[in-house]
């Protein structure tokens, strides 16, 4: 390769086209990228070391800060790991409430990322609508848990407090408004717009063999025809009591992944309605004694759930003491952000690099930790 025609530039961390504080260093010739590598580590706080210095219950306040866009999945996986090693049963009403919270978090994450993708190609109206709709869901979270973004609500043994019937009515009214007024507007403005289709069709293609080899899951696999969903393959919480579908498409490009985000939101609305209709009565927390003296026997476990980007897992090790011995975090976009940038970005045009980075759902704090 003739080095005199290549130029190297730093794309971000200070750039509106990257999803967060993350950078890509690439070389280009003409208008096409020829080689790339990731510049990660700007958000490293040393979570795994900090978790070993705090008691088991104090970590429930530290853990949501690992993934900023969808913080409830962290609390859920931490509680599941604790309950798996200690063999603790959770009451059925708490399972239903946990599933409702996770589905609401999924809807707000998807609508925010559709807005971010649209801002990447210049459709700023959809960005404003996305942020506004997400705010209505954050109002419901504030009523249930007391905070907008970091809830600290799901903890080992159940959830922190109960939900009243007026709040369930508000959730159902919001679901009706989303399905009947907001989503048809979004459909007409963004999904039937020939400019948006041209910018997204055929770009950032990842095939089925490449995705399985790399370890990418979630929308990246579903856009290639594989109906991968951990809520059906390894059911957790109350997902074995509800019926829903897993949408798939054929081409594996950015247009298919954004359509999967919209279809996932409609399925989540269906799941929330079924859960609220069938929720049983009972307690919401098993009694584990004094919070400052939680203890579980020696052992280890690897637990994982389905986040909006794919498989999200923790590997937890306990040595029978008051603090965790080791917690290892596996983010959903770790292979894409570190390995996928080097192998699959060369060949795209410079104006399509933000489309590549945002439509794959790269979330930097989960692999920087």
């Amino acid at each position: 390769m003739d080095k005199s025609t290549q130029t190297e530039i730093f794309f971000g961390p200070n750039h509106p086209g990257v999803p967060g504080n993350y950078g890509i260093i690439y070389e280009f010739e003409g208008d096409t990228v020829t080689s790339a590598k990731a510049n990660a580590g700007h958000l490293h706080r040393g979570f795994e070391k900090l978790m070993e210095e705090r008691l088991w219950i104090k970590n429930t306040a530290l853990v949501p800060r690992i993934c900023v866009e969808e913080p409830d999945i962290n609390e859920m996986v931490y509680a599941m790991g604790f309950e798996a090693i200690g063999e603790i049963e959770v009451p059925r009403r708490a399972d239903y409430i946990r599933s409702i919270i996770l589905e609401l978090a999924r809807i707000q994450g998807h609508i925010f990322s559709i807005g971010g993708n649209a801002a990447g190609i210049g459709q700023y109206t959809v960005m404003h609508w996305g942020t506004l709709t997400r705010d209505y869901i954050l109002d419901i979270f504030e009523e249930i848990t007391g905070a907008r973004v970091y809830h600290i609500y799901i903890r080992p043994g159940g959830v922190r407090q109960d939900i009243e019937d007026e709040t369930f009515d508000k959730i159902l009214d919001l679901m009706d408004e989303l399905e009947n007024e907001r989503f048809p507007d979004l459909e007409k403005t963004l999904f039937e717009n020939p400019n948006a289709q041209k910018r997204w069709q055929g770009k950032a293609v990842i095939t089925k063999e490449e995705a399985v080899e790399m370890g990418a899951t979630g929308p990246v696999l579903r856009a290639n025809g594989v109906p991968h969903d951990l809520r059906k393959m390894m059911p957790y919480a109350a997902y074995d009591d509800v019926e829903f579908e897993v949408p798939t498409y054929e081409n594996g490009d950015a247009w298919d992944r954004i359509k999967i985000a919209r279809d996932d939101m409609l399925q989540s609305i269906k799941i929330i309605r079924q859960l609220i209709q069938n929720i049983p009565d009972g307690p919401v927390q098993t009694d584990l004694g004094n919070g400052l003296k939680y203890k579980i026997p020696k052992g280890d476990a690897y637990v994982k759930i389905e986040s909006k980007r794919g498989e999200y897992g923790y590997y937890m090790v306990s040595d029978g003491g008051l603090k965790p011995y080791r917690v290892h975090v596996r983010g959903a976009s770790t292979p894409l952000g570190l390995y996928g940038v080097r192998e699959f970005l060369p060949g795209t045009r410079i104006a399509d690099v933000p489309v590549w980075a945002k439509s794959l759902g790269i979330c930097p704090p989960e692999f920087d930790r």
Binding site: E213, M234, A301, Y302, G313, R326, R330
Partner: protein, 165 residues
């Protein structure tokens, strides 16, 4: 599609495990000697265990060992399997799994940066997340993070009352 017992029979027949255990539904754990691990990975990959979730490392300071854990998953059986092995803490050298899964290069780079384990065959082990780090690898159990912070940084002075930890 196998269930957990059939999987354990397959492992007992073809590999030489030191211990096997069914932990919970759909979760199995196997312990192996270090010289058998890479061959076990390619055997399982050809029997439908194609998804590598991640590679973890645990530091057992009193026993003088590092424990490496490989987590695999199968899209046919829906079973999670964790393969564990223990290597000596000094000198901390193991073989790479990059020939089987190319993405393992980055998980091993992460373990090298935070624990100091060398992987033979992987020549891309430079710094990725930290920058100009001159001290002990930070995730080891003999690196005390509170002592490091109290030496390196100063705390804010609130009218004469200083931070006491």
């Amino acid at each position: 599609m196998r269930n957990e017992k059939e999987l354990l029979e397959l492992i007992n027949v073809h590999l030489e495990p030191q211990a096997v255990e069914i932990k919970r539904e759909q979760n199995v754990s196997v312990e192996l000697a270090p010289k058998n691990l890479i061959q076990a990975l390619s055997f399982l990959k050809s029997h439908s265990y194609q998804h590598l979730s991640t590679i973890s490392c645990v530091d057992w300071l009193e026993e003088g060992a590092f424990e490496l854990v490989y987590h695999l998953f199968s899209y046919d059986d829906y079973i999670n399997i964790s393969l564990k092995t223990r290597i000596k803490r000094e000198p901390g050298i193991f073989q790479t799994a990059k020939e089987i899964w190319p993405v393992a290069e980055f998980y091993e780079r992460d373990i090298h940066e935070f624990f100091g384990v060398e992987f033979k065959g992987n020549d891309n082990l430079e710094e990725m997340i930290l920058e100009n780090w001159q001290h002990l690898p930070p995730m080891r159990k003999d690196f005390d993070t509170r002592e490091f912070v109290n030496d390196q940084y100063e705390w804010r002075d609130y009218n004469g009352q200083k931070h006491t930890d």
